[in-house]
């Protein structure tokens, strides 16, 4: 960022020098300094607005209805992630568990946890499904197959989802107020938007899928893109 700024200043000062040389400006010092300063201030303001203010307005934060503790549950179940996030026989993936799975243990309040109290009183006793916000929810045109990744390619959950299983509370869900999509698709951090990401779960745009597919499968079956076919991930 600082490199770009320096360059801009250099260019700016060159321009003003040229203007000063060709014109009949009396006070040379002022004509050189002020426009550069104003440009610099405007540039900084634009950057702050574009990178900090606009994203802040664009995304609304929502708290999950119940703050779920993965660590406690992982200690109690036998089968790791698949105890609650399992495959159905028809090949679909269960994703966020339904109330029916929770009720097996949580028919009554078992601990002194405030969260469990809310969960049991609001949802279990009334028989209402918990309206979880899904961080990884994809747009309607996307077909994502857990079966292909987990069963066929033998990938584990952590590869894409990170260490969710070791978290003690759920982070806030951020929703794009214009599109309604989860922020996890574009990436939550500044460098995600600058096409950088350190971990797979930091961003889930189409190019990220295509890049990994090309790298892992080597398939170039699409005539137009020389990458994996469109209908592999679209519907």
């Amino acid at each position: 960022m600082s490199e770009t700024d320096d360059k801009v200043i250099e260019e700016g000062s060159e321009e003003t020098r040229e203007q000063a040389d060709s014109g009949n400006a009396g006070d040379e010092e002022q004509s050189k300094g002020l426009p550069t300063l104003f440009f610099f201030i405007g540039f900084i303001i634009s950057l702050v607005v574009g990178w900090v203010v606009f994203p802040a307005i664009l995304y609304s934060s929502k708290k999950q209805p119940v703050d779920f503790n993965h660590v406690i549950h992982m200690e109690l179940v036998d089968n790791g992630c698949e105890s609650c996030h399992f495959f159905r026989e028809d090949g679909t993936f269960s994703g966020a568990p339904r109330l029916a799975q929770c009720v097996d243990c949580h028919e009554d309040i078992q601990t002194e946890s405030e969260n469990e109290k809310v969960f049991v009183e609001t949802y279990v006793s009334n028989g209402i499904e918990v309206p979880w916000y899904i961080y990884a929810k994809q747009p309607d045109c996307v077909f994502f197959s857990h079966a292909a990744h987990v069963k066929l390619a033998n990938m584990d959950c952590v590869t894409c989802h990170g260490h969710i299983g070791e978290s003690t509370s759920l982070r806030e869900y951020e929703e794009n107020v214009l599109t309604g999509y989860s922020r996890d698709i574009w990436g939550a951090k500044l460098w995600n938007m600058l096409t950088l990401k350190k971990e797979p779960w930091e961003r889930m745009k189409m190019d990220d899928c295509a890049e990994c597919h090309l790298e892992k499968t080597g398939r170039k079956t699409s005539i137009q893109t020389q990458k994996d076919g469109c209908l592999v991930c679209h519907k």
Binding site: G91, A147, T221, S222, Q224, G229, C230, K235
Partner: protein
């Protein structure tokens, strides 16, 4: 890249002798694929019908009059070389694509911006434009299929060979520990809906599949059918479609392409020969 297995080439064979023109395929297709419709569909020019049944006649007076019904889905043309189908080669938005793995011409609705070049390029009128946003009757929105993305105003749509069924069938197979599908596991909606069994669907490259046995496509000559009575629409245009038709009637097979009066039905067009100057 080394090829481990032969690419699949999904295709369809429609027996016109068996087709009664009932239109079940059209209805099944619309229901399966969330195809939008309007209150007034009298103007067929702006109706959307991924699968459409045409009526052919031999134009002879009674008592020689004969009628044949011809269902027409998207032909999923392969073209003369790898995926050079008419629509794919003109799309400026990478919205329509040819997949060498399945031979299916895809249409990505979120990618399309509605220029309609593909509609102009398609010689089969298999592509349709959404002039309006879909309006579903009260309550019908709940009965739409979640497996097919609904389209909006201003974009082009067409038959996908019910590709979502392939995706779901593959998922089921993966969970059961299989990589490949059996023939019956991926069938299109129209195939299953046809009461007279006129439509057959499967992998044209797989000799065990019924479609291959019915038409015996000759892959060295761009999939030209070698079985008796088999033909494709506008065969001599070189689009190399993956929908084959069967008819025992010569006039029906002749109606499948534009023949000159002195040309024999089914005779391949040798353009090179015709374009060459006659020797002096």
């Amino acid at each position: 890249m080394k090829k481990e297995r032969i690419d699949k080439k999904f295709g369809m064979v429609i027996d016109l002798d068996a087709c009664t023109g009932c239109g079940s395929c059209m209805v099944a297709c619309m229901a399966e694929n969330n195809v939008p419709f309007k209150k007034d569909e009298t103007n067929k020019l702006d109706s959307i019908t991924w699968m459409r049944v045409y009526k052919l006649t031999n134009k002879k007076p009674f008592p020689e009059t004969e009628i044949c019904y011809l269902p027409r889905p998207c032909m999923h043309c392969e073209g003369q070389h790898s995926g050079h189908s008419p629509c794919v080669s003109v799309c400026p938005a990478t919205a329509t694509d040819y997949d060498m793995d399945t031979g299916i011409v895809s249409q990505i609705y979120t990618r399309c911006f509605g220029c309609r070049y593909c509609m102009a390029a398609c010689p089969y009128h298999a592509r349709y434009f959404n002039w309006w946003d879909p309006v579903w009757p009260d309550g019908m929105e709940k009965s739409l299929s979640p497996n097919v993305s609904p389209r909006m105003r201003g974009i082009v749509e067409k038959c996908s060979f019910c590709f979502h069924r392939y995706q779901l069938a593959l998922d089921k197979a993966y969970v059961k520990g299989r990589r490949e599908l059996k023939e019956h596991e991926y069938q299109t909606s129209c195939t299953q809906a046809c009461p007279s069994g006129a439509i057959t669907f499967g992998d044209l490259n797989n000799p065990d599949h019924q479609v291959h046995r019915l038409v015996k496509p000759d892959n060295r000559h761009h999939g030209r059918p070698t079985a008796k009575n088999a033909f494709r629409l506008l065969e001599r245009l070189g689009t190399n479609p993956k929908v084959y038709y069967l008819s025992s009637k010569e006039w029906v097979r002749r109606a499948g392409d534009n023949y000159l009066d002195n040309e024999e039905t089914g005779k391949p067009l040798n353009l090179m020969k015709e374009l060459q100057p006659e020797p002096h």
